[in-house]
């Protein structure tokens, strides 16, 4: 959290510090996220270093290390070794006002001080109470109370110019007259450039100077020299050669790069790493799936055996039931035959009362009162016994 707080207070300075131009910069001191030298570096438990601001921004998007994609949280971040902070703070930088003319090269940690108190080209508020513009320090140093934003008239072009711009304006004012350094004639600034390209008095080098011709003299003599100069006549040929060499070199470079890609995979390190992690992930997934599959197989086979045992039992029960029914059937058939034989026998003795005997036997069975012919009685008892037996079978079936 401390890193976040400090980043907020210095954010205006951060914007500048990332665009600084370094005298020389070691790649190891470059943040992989912003690609500039570390600013307020921090260190992760997985051993990577980033600018604090960059890392906290990245963590706000996803809780992974930007380099190795391992899990990372605020607690895994600590300040870097002191030596690293010192190394980045002591890197030499050019003053950001170098384009305005400041020639200072300074250690990065001292730059803020330089800009605040020293740099002649740093912008400060105009000392005048009525002016809200900014002005470079060098003007304030020249006259600490004066406002340099007062408009003036250029003596040459009559244009309106602020006082602080006068020096710059003098070098570009088109109406200003100036003297040719060679032929001493007066020209306006607008024409002098054109004149300098033509002035017959000015000293020029041979056009083949770059090829090694040492001749130099007044422009009016140049023509007679070039007709004699062997290097000038060779120049077109040499130019063509150079062009071809440049093309071949470029081609050679790209071929070399292709060979490098084919031979060693240095350039693809990131991708290879990525593919490796992906491969690992798939492998673990595969292991997990095969485990699950094995488990499922075992469960399936156990279920199957359970079911088979139950079905076997059921089949056995059915078989028993079928046997019981067969027995009963067999017995009933036998009974019926004996019954038929007996009724045949009795009908021969008591033909008219056969029906009565039957009814009597049924009533006997219903009331259980002894009487009638002993044969019939025995028969009824037997039937009862059998019925009880068959009930026993039925119970078996139910079980």
């Amino acid at each position: 959290m401390e890193g976040r707080e400090s980043s907020k207070t210095t954010s205006s300075y951060e914007a500048d510090i990332r665009s600084l131009l370094y005298v020389s910069l070691n790649d190891n001191l470059v943040c992989p996220i912003c690609c500039s030298a570390f600013v307020d570096p921090c260190y992760t438990k997985c051993g990577h270093t980033f600018c604090s601001v960059c890392l906290y921004k990245a963590l706000a998007q996803s809780n992974k290390c930007p380099v190795d994609r391992g899990p990372l949280s605020d607690e895994d971040i600590c300040p870097p070794p002191k030596i690293l902070s010192n190394m980045v703070n002591e890197l030499l930088v050019y003053c950001p006002n170098a384009d305005k003319g400041c020639k200072i090269v300074i250690q990065r940690c001292l730059l803020r001080h330089h800009l605040r108190d020293k740099c002649h080209y740093a912008l400060l508020e105009c000392p005048s109470d009525h002016c809200t513009e900014l002005i470079e320090r060098r003007f304030i140093e020249r006259d600490p109370a004066k406002c340099f934003h007062q408009p003036m008239t250029c003596p040459d072009c009559n244009g309106s110019v602020s006082e602080f711009e006068v020096d710059d304006h003098k070098t570009i004012c088109a109406a200003r007259s100036t003297k040719c350094p060679d032929c001493s004639q007066q020209f306006s600034m607008a024409d002098i450039r054109e004149h300098l390209d033509k002035c017959s008095e000015s000293i020029v080098n041979c056009p083949s100077y770059r090829l090694g011709c040492g001749w130099s003299g007044r422009r009016e003599k140049l023509d007679s020299h070039t007709t004699e100069c062997t290097l000038t006549s060779l120049a077109p040929f040499l130019d063509r050669q150079e062009e071809r060499i440049a093309i071949l070199e470029a081609e050679n470079k790209s071929l070399r790069a292709q060979v490098a890609v084919g031979g060693s995979n240095n350039m693809l390190d990131n991708d290879v790493l990525h593919i490796f992690t992906e491969h690992e992930r798939f492998r673990s997934e595969l292991e997990r799936l095969s485990e699950q599959l094995g488990e499922l197989e075992i469960r399936q086979s156990v279920m199957l055996t359970n079911q088979t045992v139950r079905m076997k039992e059921e089949i056995q029960n059915m078989r028993n039931a079928v046997n019981a029914i067969r027995h009963q059937m067999h017995f009933l058939m036998m009974e019926r035959r004996t019954w038929a034989l007996q009724s045949l026998a009795t009908s021969s003795v008591l033909p008219p009362t056969a029906n009565a005997v039957v009814s009597a036997s049924t009533s006997l069975a219903g009331h259980g009162t002894p009487g009638g012919s002993s044969n019939v009685h025995e028969e009824v008892a037997h039937v009862r016994l059998m019925r009880r037996e068959s009930e026993g079978y039925r119970q078996d079936v139910k079980l």
Partner: protein, 151 residues
């Protein structure tokens, strides 16, 4: 908004030290928008083709991934009709330590290793699984028809 230093540095390096088989040139009027060409990898159905892509760096870059899209028609299970690309490093696996050059290398690698099991163009992926030889034939034909005049 001013262009971040990182984008300037990446652009400079893409020009001064280009990746073989890949070019990326920013537009003059929008330095966050790149015209990209990627050569089809050798020993793939895209070999010999030069594929045009567009790449855009959003305001939040490098905290979010660049947006990359194929402009050249291509027959590939992970690239749909509109040229959108199904690639993890462009979506969930983006990391701010990746750069334009690494992303374009990943796109080139995807051409060399199509993955029909994680498809974006379902019809292509289906065909790729059912009849890989025919699918590769179509990919080669499309490369010849659409990716050869790009150079």
């Amino acid at each position: 908004m001013a262009l971040p230093k990182r984008i300037i540095k990446e652009t400079e390096r893409l020009v001064s030290d280009p990746v073989p088989g890949i070019t990326a040139v920013p537009h003059d009027d929008n330095l966050r928008y790149f015209d990209v060409t990627v050569d089809g990898p050798s020993q793939s159905p895209y070999e010999g083709g030069v594929f045009k892509l567009e790449l855009f760096l959003p305001e939040e870059y490098p905290m979010v991934a660049p947006k990359v899209r194929f402009l050249t028609k291509i027959y590939h299970p992970n690239i749909d009709k509109l040229g959108r690309i199904c690639l993890d490093v462009l979506k969930t696996n983006w990391s701010p330590a990746l750069q334009i050059r690494t992303i374009l290398l990943s796109v080139q690698a995807l051409l060399g290793a199509p993955n029909p099991d994680d498809p974006l163009a379902n019809d292509v992926a289906q065909r790729w699984k059912e009849d890989e030889r025919a699918a590769i034939g179509t990919a080669r034909e499309w490369t010849k028809n659409y990716a050869h005049d790009a150079a």
